[in-house]
């Protein structure tokens, strides 16, 4: 199993969710986060005063899938979250040792 973590633009979350549902992903966890990448935030101007946006709002998706699904899921996220502009985000793939469904006690890919 692998844990896939993706940091994406907030307005892309619905498209990503639809894409993942479309390929059979049964569930995912979403959180609102802030951060910066290579663009290092932005300098904006409001009413004649400059200010620096150090951390931009992003959405973090976490989803655990079986090893055979990883490529399709990564592709789906990549395609759905893509705008081609700076700040589209990143996808990370992690090894995941175990998964357990609390209600039934099922473990491994059965719990996904």
């Amino acid at each position: 199993m692998k844990l896939i973590t993706a940091i994406i633009k907030p307005f892309k979350i619905d498209e990503v969710r639809d894409a993942l549902t479309g390929i059979g992903v049964m569930g995912l966890t979403v959180s609102e986060v802030k951060g910066y990448g290579r663009q290092k935030g932005q300098t904006e101007i409001y009413r004649g005063a400059e200010y620096v946006i150090s951390f931009l709002p992003k959405v973090k998706i976490e989803v655990v899938v079986s090893d055979t699904e990883v490529e399709r899921v990564v592709e789906a996220i990549k395609k759905a979250a893509h705008t081609g502009k700076i700040g589209d985000g990143k996808i990370f793939v992690w090894p995941c040792e175990q998964a357990i469904r609390i209600r039934t006690g099922e473990a491994g890919t059965d719990a996904l």
Partner: protein, 433 residues
């Protein structure tokens, strides 16, 4: 103007004392004028509470919303008491060139039947209250320039001293029989006394206190602009009493003053909106409401003297010029006038005061008023300029002296910790959620 107590029964007074005011006749209450001025007085109070309180509170960050509201509330209380004790007397009693007298100390002599010589068709109670509402909103306006960083105690000292040392003399000079009134300076409802006065004081205060912590780095965007929109809407409507009431009568001039006030506000709101749209890419809500206030402040001295054409022009110029002053100019000069008191009120007041000199028309304001455009009296523009310069110099210098005095004694600014964590919690022990 009479220096005697005017509260004595008028009939008894006539028999006892001869004075210049009485020579003009004692005045007769007009119920129409009185009815309108009672309403107008309530309208101007509405401009401060809740108008200005909401306008300012809506433009600061969440942690300072209550502290900003508290400034307007406390100033209303403080100015009211000081106005009763000496403010009214020093402004409107005695015709000295420089200052009034103590003849009306504690509003002595004000009775149900008394009439002030400046307003012969309404009860003195209404006149004194109407003028009080102007004395309330002017110092409260200044505080926008130092929002987010002034100690509450320092703010109260500043307001009290500023009222007595800056507002009262200015109001006396322009409206109470002082030297600017004798010179023929036109200021119908307070372009000089209220807006330039508050504007330059705000600029000086912003410079003396210094910028907010991390100004130019942190995002200082307003917490809740809806509050500010409600506040400006109340100011806009209340301004009908501010300018429309300054005729001190319910007549055609009052109606014209109201009409041009609304026209200038609407025009300036549009002008600021378009200027911001063209230069910054977006027409911000803050920009539209700021434009409206700029138009209202600008037409204030000219209302009562000008017609609808000049109102459109004054609104247009005010919208664009105040936008520039509150954004590019402020940025270039580097001062942090938090809520743009100078950019909106100071610059707007100057535009309108000059506009009054250019466009004042005898056909609107009566034969004794002659402006440049319609009556060919270029001298009026110079007279207006004198009023502007006197106000900039007096208000600027005295504000600086008062603030340096407070700085040297109790200090002006909150601590860094208080500023970072917010004035609401640290100064008032409360916060909004």
């Amino acid at each position: 103007m009479s220096t005697i107590a005017r509260g004595l029964p008028v009939a008894a007074l006539c028999g006892l004392i001869a004075s210049p005011a009485l020579a003009e006749g004692p005045g007769k209450i007009d119920t129409g004028d009185t009815a309108w001025m009672i309403v107008a007085t309530a309208f101007v109070l509405l401009m401060s509470l809740p108008g200005l309180a909401l306008f300012y509170a809506g433009m600061v960050r969440k942690k300072n919303v209550l502290a900003t509201t508290a400034q307007t509330l406390a100033t209303t209380g403080l100015v009211t008491v000081l106005w009763v004790i000496v403010g009214y007397s020093l402004t409107f009693s005695g015709g000295g060139d420089l200052i009034g007298d103590f003849g009306r100390f504690l509003m002595g002599g004000l009775t149900v039947g008394s009439i002030h010589p400046n307003a012969k068709t309404i009860p003195e109670s209404v006149f004194a209250f109407y003028q009080m509402t102007f004395a309330i909103i002017t110092p409260a306006l200044v505080l926008g320039a130092v929002a987010d960083r002034m100690k509450f105690s320092a703010m109260l000292w500043f307001m009290g001293l500023w009222l007595l040392l800056v507002y009262v003399p200015m109001a006396h000079w322009v409206w109470g029989g002082g030297f600017l009134q004798s010179d023929g300076v036109l200021d119908f409802a307070g372009g000089i006394v209220v807006h330039i006065n508050a504007g330059i004081a705000g600029l000086v205060a912003a410079i003396v206190l210094g910028p907010r912590r991390n100004y130019g780095h942190d995002n200082m965007a307003p917490y809740n602009l809806v509050l500010a929109v409600i506040g400006v809407s109340l100011l806009w409507v209340g301004w009908m009493g501010f300018n429309g009431g300054s005729a001190l009568a319910a007549d055609g001039r009052a109606g014209m003053a109201m009409l041009v006030t609304h026209i200038a506000a609407a025009t300036a709101a549009l002008a600021w909106m378009c200027a911001e749209w063209l230069t910054m890419g977006k027409p911000s809500v803050l920009g539209i409401i700021s434009g409206a206030v700029a138009g209202l402040g600008s037409i204030t001295p000219a209302s009562g003297y000008v017609g609808v054409g000049p109102a459109l022009l004054i609104g247009l110029v005010a919208g664009v010029a105040c936008f520039y002053a509150s954004t590019a100019m402020k940025k270039r000069l580097g001062y942090d006038d938090s809520l743009d008191v100078f950019g909106v009120h100071g610059v707007g007041g100057i535009i309108g005061t000059l506009g009054a000199g250019v466009f004042a028309a005898s056909m609107i304001a009566g034969p004794e008023v002659k402006g440049l455009w319609f009556d060919g009296n270029g001298k009026q523009v110079l007279t207006q300029l004198k009023g502007i310069v006197v106000c900039l110099v007096w208000s600027g210098i005295v504000t600086w002296v008062v603030l340096m005095g407070i700085k040297a004694t109790i200090g002006l600014r909150v601590t860094n910790e208080q500023e970072i964590e917010g004035l609401d919690l640290h100064l008032h022990g409360e916060r909004v959620e």
